[in-house]
C-alpha cells in the first residue's frame, strides 16, 4: 500500500522511442488542455475542464492497454488518456467550440464528456461514479464471451464516496472481473479536500474490504504508474480479477472554467504543487538520461503546437449543429 519509489528511467522495460512517445503524449495533452482554457478565456469556448497535472497518470495507464482492443470508461479529466487511446486534438477542439463534427457527442454534451465507439471509449454523463458500474458490466460481458479484453474505469477521489463506486467494486470482486479501477486522486473534489471525503489516507486502504488488491502510486511519476498499471492489467487479462489503483496527482488548474481554486486553497499549497508538475519532471528525467537530447523537447513541443493549431483551424471553420438534428437519436428506430 505504500507509495512505490521512483525507478531510474528505462527500468520499466520501455525503449527510448517508447519513452519519447510517452513524453510527447503528455505534452500534447497539456498543450491541448491549455488551448481549450485559452479559448474559454477568449469567450469562444463556453466551458472547459482541465486535466493538467494528471498527464503522467493517464499516459502511464494508457500505455498498459492495447489500443482499439481494450476499453476505457473515462471521466472528465482524461483528455490525455483519450489521446493515448486514439482520439485526436481536433476531436476535443470540436467539442470545446460546440461544433457538429464533435465525435464525442455532436456537441450535445458539455466538453470533456469523452466518447468514441471506434476506440472503445465509452460515453459518460455528468453524474459522478455512475460509470463505475458500466465498466463492471463491460467486464462482465468480456468474461461471459471468454474475451481477454480489459476495461479501465477512471474517477476522482471524490467519486469514491458515491454508492455506485462501492457497489461496483463489490460486484467486480465477487465475479473476479477484468477491470482496473483507477482513482486519479488530486486531493480536491471541487473545493472539498480529501480529509472531508474519507477517513483514510489512501483510497486503496479500502481495497481489502472489497476483496481485491490495492496499489497507490505517485501519479506524477509516469513510469511508476505504468509499472503498476501493467501489473493490474495483466492480472485482469489472465483471470486474476480487478485491481484498485490510485494515482496521487496534482490539480494544477481549478475544477472548471467556472471555478477559482485560489478562493479555497492556500497560496503556498498552489506554489508547492507547481514544483510537482509531472511534465517537467519527466522531461528532466529524460534529458538527464539523454533520452531527450538538447532541443528535442522544443522540437516535440513545436510539432504538438502545429498539430493543435491545424486542428483549431479546422474546428474554427467547422459548422455548428443543424437545429433540425436536435430531435434525432432519442431512440434507435427514430
Amino acid at each position: 500500500m505504500a507509495l512505490t519509489e521512483s525507478p531510474p528511467v528505462g527500468a520499466a522495460g520501455l525503449t527510448r522511442d517508447r519513452l519519447r512517445e510517452m513524453y510527447r503524449y503528455m505534452l500534447l495533452g497539456r498543450l491541448l488542455d491549455q488551448r481549450v482554457l485559452v479559448l474559454n478565456r477568449q469567450g469562444r469556448a463556453p466551458f472547459a475542464i482541465s486535466g493538467q497535472g494528471h498527464e503522467a497518470a493517464q499516459v502511464g495507464v494508457g500505455y498498459a492497454l492495447r489500443r482499439d482492443y481494450d476499453w476505457i470508461v473515462p471521466y472528465y479529466r482524461d483528455i490525455t488518456l483519450v489521446l493515448v487511446m486514439g482520439m485526436e486534438p481536433r476531436d476535443q477542439l470540436m467539442a470545446a467550440l460546440a461544433k457538429a463534427g464533435d465525435p464525442n457527442s455532436g456537441a450535445r454534451q458539455m466538453p470533456s464528456h469523452f466518447s468514441s465507439r471506434e476506440h472503445n471509449i465509452v460515453s459518460g454523463g455528468s453524474p459522478v461514479a455512475t460509470q463505475i458500474l458500466h465498466a463492471v458490466g463491460v467486464a462482465q460481458a468480456f468474461k461471459y464471451r471468454r474475451e481477454d479484453r480489459v476495461v479501465v474505469v477512471t474517477v476522482g477521489e471524490g467519486g469514491t464516496s458515491e454508492g455506485d463506486w462501492h457497489e461496483g467494486l463489490n460486484w467486480a470482486a465477487i465475479h473476479r472481473l477484468p477491470v482496473v479501477f483507477l482513482v486519479e486522486n488530486n486531493a480536491f473534489a471541487i473545493s472539498v479536500p480529501q480529509s472531508l471525503q474519507m477517513a483514510v489516507e489512501h483510497v486503496t486502504e479500502r481495497a481489502a474490504g472489497y476483496g481485491m488488491p490495492g496499489v497507490s502510486v505517485d501519479g506524477g511519476d509516469v513510469l511508476a504508474v505504468y509499472r503498476a498499471a501493467v501489473e493490474a492489467v495483466e492480472r485482469a487479462r489472465t483471470g486474476g480479477g480487478p485491481t484498485l489503483l490510485e494515482a496521487e496527482c496534482v490539480r494544477l488548474q481549478s475544477h472548471s472554467s467556472d471555478d477559482d481554486q485560489r478562493r479555497y486553497r492556500a497560496a503556498e499549497d498552489l506554489d508547492s504543487m507547481r514544483l510537482h508538475d509531472p511534465l517537467e519532471r519527466f522531461r528532466a528525467d529524460l534529458e538527464s538520461s539523454s533520452i531527450l537530447a538538447d532541443g528535442d523537447a522544443d522540437q516535440i513541443r513545436l510539432e504538438c503546437q502545429r498539430l493543435i493549431d491545424t486542428a483549431q483551424e479546422e474546428a474554427d471553420q467547422a459548422p455548428v449543429p443543424d437545429p433540425a438534428t436536435a430531435l434525432l437519436h432519442v431512440y434507435g428506430d427514430d
Binding site: 460515453s123 455512475t130 458500474l133 458490466g137 455506485d164 431512440y331
Partner: protein
C-alpha cells in the same frame, strides 16, 4: 394452444429468447437458484447456468448499472428489480444514463436492455406502502425510455419479446396481481406485440375509457354493468405509456366524445394527466363532456390494513360510478 398464467408467459418468453439468442442474460436478486420471488425466472438458472442467470448482490443501482455496461458491450441484459418499489436507487442509472446514452453520443452508443419489475397491489395482501406502488409515470416522463405495462398473458409474451429485441432501454412493469389470477390461451410459437400500440379490448360508442395494467379488467367489468343500461363503453388498453398511442386515443375520443382515464397509480401528475391533455388539445371540438380521470388518492401508496387499502384501490364499482357520472353529463 396451452392455457398459461401471466407469470408463466413471462418465464417461458425469457426461456425461449435465451435459447434463441445467447446475448440475452438475466440478472437480479434471487433470480437464480430460486427462480425469482414470483417464479418469473424459474428454471433459467438450471438450464443456462450462473453466467447467464446472475444472482446479483442486494443493490439495485448495480443491477441496472451493470446491465447498462453489458448492453454497451453488445449483450442483451434483462435486469429484474424485485419490486418496482425498490427501483429508486437505480433511478440515476435509468434516467441519467440508460435513457440518454444514444442521444448523448449522437447515436454512437446504444443501450438495448429490459428492466423488469412487478408492480401494483392485488395479491392476497396488497403489499402495503413498499410492495405495491405503480411508479410508471416517473419513467413515462423521460425521453429515451420506453414503458410497457401488459395486462394479459398474451400481451406479456408479445410485448416482452418486442422489448427483448428493442434497440433501446425498455421498462417492463408486470402487474403482480395478474401473475397467477389470469390464465389465457397463448400460442407456443413466437409473435410480437408492438411497443407503443394500444388496443380496443371492448368496443363501445358512448364513452372511451383509457387504461392499462390490471385496471383494464376492472374497467371491462364496469363497462358490462353499464351495458345493461344500454350505455356502451369502449375500453382501450394503452399497453405502453411511453410512447403513448396518440392516434388510437384521439380516434377513439373523437368517436365517442366522452373520455375517462383510469389508472391504479396516484392521479396527480400521472399518465392519465398526459392522456387527458392530449384529448383536450386534439379533440376539443368533438367532446361532449369534461375529460375525467380516476386513480389513486393523494396518499403515498396502498396502506396495509384491508379497510385502508380499499380507500386506495379502484375496483369495478368505483370505475362504474365514475362512468355513470360521465354518461349523465
Amino acid at each position: 394452444m396451452p392455457e398459461i398464467t401471466y407469470v408463466e408467459a413471462v418465464q417461458t418468453t425469457l426461456r425461449d429468447e435465451m435459447r434463441r439468442d445467447d446475448r440475452v442474460v438475466v440478472m437480479g436478486e434471487d433470480v437464480g437458484v430460486k427462480g425469482g420471488v414470483f417464479g418469473a425466472t424459474a428454471g433459467l438458472f438450471q438450464e443456462f447456468g450462473g453466467e447467464r442467470v446472475i444472482d446479483s448482490p442486494l443493490a439495485e443501482a448495480s443491477i441496472v448499472g451493470v446491465a447498462i455496461g453489458m448492453a454497451l458491450a453488445g449483450l442483451r441484459p434483462v435486469a429484474e428489480i424485485q419490486f418496482l418499489d425498490f427501483i429508486p436507487p437505480a433511478m440515476d442509472q435509468l434516467i441519467s444514463e440508460a435513457a440518454k446514452i444514444r442521444y448523448r453520443s449522437n447515436n454512437g452508443w446504444s443501450c438495448p436492455m429490459v428492466v423488469r419489475a412487478p408492480c401494483g397491489g392485488g395479491v392476497h395482501v396488497h403489499g402495503a406502502l413498499y410492495h405495491s406502488q405503480m411508479l410508471e409515470a416517473l419513467f413515462a416522463h423521460v425521453p429515451g425510455l420506453k414503458v410497457v405495462l401488459p395486462s394479459t398473458p398474451y400481451d406479456a409474451k408479445g410485448l416482452l419479446l418486442s422489448a427483448l429485441r428493442d434497440p433501446d432501454p425498455v421498462c417492463f412493469f408486470e402487474h403482480k396481481g395478474l401473475y397467477r389470477s389470469m390464465r389465457q390461451d397463448v400460442p407456443e410459437e413466437e409473435y410480437l406485440v408492438p411497443i407503443g400500440k394500444g388496443q380496443v379490448v371492448r368496443p363501445g360508442r358512448d364513452i372511451s375509457c383509457f387504461t392499462y395494467g390490471a385496471t383494464v379488467h376492472e374497467a371491462v367489468a364496469a363497462a358490462e354493468k353499464l351495458a345493461a343500461d344500454k350505455i356502451e363503453v369502449e375500453v382501450v388498453d394503452l399497453r405502453t405509456v411511453r410512447p403513448l398511442d396518440r392516434e388510437l386515443i384521439v380516434e377513439s375520443a373523437r368517436r365517442t366524445g366522452k373520455v375517462l382515464v383510469a389508472h391504479e397509480a396516484n392521479l396527480a401528475g400521472g399518465v392519465g394527466a398526459e392522456a387527458a391533455a392530449l384529448v383536450a388539445e386534439e379533440c376539443f371540438d368533438a367532446l361532449d363532456g369534461p375529460v375525467m380521470r380516476i386513480g389513486g388518492p393523494e396518499i403515498p401508496a396502498i396502506p396495509f390494513a384491508e379497510s385502508l387499502a380499499e380507500v386506495y384501490c379502484l375496483g369495478p364499482e368505483k370505475i362504474e360510478r365514475k362512468l355513470r357520472e360521465l354518461a349523465a353529463y
